[in-house]
Subunit: 405 residues, 2 copies
């Protein structure tokens, strides 16, 4: 039994301090560096992109996380340090080493993260030059500034806080994330950082970050492109009840893990809501599959179809595009006679036949909402899965045809 | 040994007559009906969409083709007769029955094809009303008119003729096709009809249509959306040498099959060239895979990535998007150290490292061409495969956000 409350403003997390700086990585004057300082005795776990050609910072952070106690996360926007070869790895390590020298810790206690353009060398020197001042600026209250510093094509910062009370103990969870393109996370999304003042044992935290990602960031798509830099980190500082570290059997586990999932789900939703050029957020809810994977396969086929996404943009109830996407999704055993499609709860197709008296004007009205759901029944199975997506607008093309210029 | 010539104008094929008409299916006055009349003793083979929710005419045509000698193909644009349930099947059969009555043949000798909007009832009555006049208009010279009649969002008709001379015998192959959206054919593209005056045995023709489709229509993508209506038919009238039907062992097989493939490849290329909103045609050429399927998997990941396609539109050599797409493609055994990327023959990445002295201005110049190729080396394997794609433009979104209105 626990009580979970979403907070209206970002809440500080005891044991976590943040700072931002303008390192001039891509454009002078742009806030493009973010530090997250983690108190000793915290536990940290993360998941990273499954893209084979992952970025240099992903390789380095994953390596450092194996055997060290992270003290500092160094995050830059403006340059992904991906596709940069051996020199890119060296650049990421140089940043860690410089931060370690200032803090008096091992370079392996520093984890690097990057987001931005792929294929251009990251200037480690610019980041290193900005580190001393930034480290002296570290403070508990800078969550919103941090959320702004990691933005690329995002139009709004993404920062959410949740408070959960379990058996009289109060825990805080605050997280930040950034989108807004190359978003079809596979294990984690492009840069999300969540912290709690709960104490959580490292193995339990590792299981939790994976489970939470699978139910939040790994269920969204903007353009179907899994980034080279996706990383999601969860930090548990233990400053609430440092003497006992939670595991799955603890009485507070349900409340704390629900709070972390809630923050992750809010961040994931905010990323799609702010998808490049997106004008609406659409839930693709697939039921009746034999397995969750089958449901996801059908859901992603619809969620990523350019024809469906442009129809969403136009609020055009051209549901034939949905039917066609499910039909090509490759889910085994699909049968037209089992297919049902609805917009919110308004039925369009049932048992494979157009519903008598169907009124296209009602569908168009539902699609004009800025959030709605497409329900798809693909069979008589018990599995269900849903995916969040957005529309493809003229602005999407404009943004991505002009992103680098 | 054979001599193959591409002809500058559509050539008639002895044994094939065509007609077009305005049946008023979607818009009054639009030419939206096309008939292809096939002389007795021809052989006909076809491949159809693998989309599970295939259209009513696909179900009927596939069924009729099993045991009958096709005499007439009836093709309408403006309405796909897909997602229309049992009544849609009846509408398709009603058209076949009406044509059979006029021609004095079985309804099973008539094959229906439809293209256009999904999910709206097709007016069989309008087509039936237009049939008598159209049938009396049948003529050998109407290939180009036929190509125009089957267009939907296409901006140009697609019609190609090839002549091949084998051991003194002259064969003609003429084909028509239409695109230009919901194009990622799986077994065949949305409506292609190819005819030759060669005589070809039915089993050999069935193998040929599949092999030809796999090497032409099944290697193109515009939007990754496999249509519900894809159909490719090859007609062999045998009016050149009717007494001997070609099979794979005949001396003329190589020449005739090369001619049919050449027409199919020209049609497939023309479909991508005319892709919705497309401004350029790009070949994604993947080498070094263990299998052709692995190469295709990587090629389609790049060819369908919205981020890659918007960069193509902008002529922006943002090759990181290509690297990211290959990295998420799911091809087993990918290693950064084996990756190479080039634009036409200009190298960008070799052995996983950025090429020294790389000049982005040269890449931008190549991308500004209206046709170019992206070469991707994914390993040391012997397999190769290429896919044709196009860019994603502002016009693409405009067309698909407004298509039905």
């Amino acid at each position: 039994v626990f009580e979970l409350n979403r907070l209206p403003h970002p809440a500080t997390v005891r044991g976590v301090r943040l700072a931002v700086a303008s390192a001039g990585i891509r454009k002078a004057g742009r806030t493009d560096l973010c530090l997250i300082d983690i108190a000793p005795d915290s536990t940290v776990a993360g998941v990273f992109t499954q893209n084979v050609f992952c970025a240099a910072p992903v390789i380095v952070a994953r390596d450092h996380l194996q055997d060290s106690q992270p003290r500092l996360l160094v995050i830059n926007s403006g340059n992904a340090n991906a596709g940069t070869g051996q020199i890119g790895l060296q650049d990421a390590r140089d940043v860690c080493a410089a931060a370690g020298r200032i803090l008096g810790c091992s370079e392996r206690a520093v984890l690097p993260f990057s987001t931005g353009v792929i294929g251009q060398r990251l200037s480690a020197a610019k980041i290193v030059a900005a580190l001393p001042q930034a480290i002296s600026d570290l403070a508990h209250e800078r969550w919103e500034e941090a959320a702004r510093a990691i933005m690329t094509t995002d139009t709004t910062p993404k920062c959410f806080s949740v408070e959960v009370v379990c058996s009289g103990r109060r825990y805080t969870v605050t997280g930040i994330a950034k989108g807004a393109g190359m978003i079809k996370p596979n294990m984690a999304t492009m840069l999300a950082f969540i912290a709690t003042d709960a104490a959580i044992a490292r193995p339990a935290l590792e299981g939790l970050v994976k489970a939470v990602s699978d139910r939040s960031f790994n269920r969204i798509t903007i353009d179907g492109d899994t980034s080279t830099n996706d990383s999601c980190m969860v930090i548990a500082t233990g400053q609430t009840a440092p003497t006992e570290r939670l595991t799955e059997t603890h009485a507070d586990w349900a409340g704390v893990s629900a709070a972390i999932l809630d923050v992750a789900a809010q961040l994931a939703r905010a990323i799609v809501r702010d998808g490049e050029g997106a004008t609406k957020l659409v839930t693709i809810d697939v039921r009746g599959g034999t397995t969750v994977d089958d449901c996801l396969k059908a859901a992603y086929a619809v969620a990523e179809s350019p024809l469906v996404k442009t129809a969403l943009f136009a609020s055009d109830p051209n549901w034939g595009r949905i039917l066609a996407a499910v039909g090509r999704s490759g889910v085994p055993g699909l049968q037209m006679s089992a297919l049902a499609i609805s917009f919110d709860d308004y039925p369009i197709i049932q048992a494979g036949e157009p519903v008598a008296g169907y009124d296209e004007a009602i569908s168009a009205k539902i699609m004009a909402r800025d959030e709605f759901s497409i329900g798809i029944q693909i069979g008589a199975g018990a599995a269900q899965a849903s995916v969040l997506t957005c529309d493809f607008s003229l602005e999407y093309v404009r943004i991505n045809a002009e992103y680098r210029s």
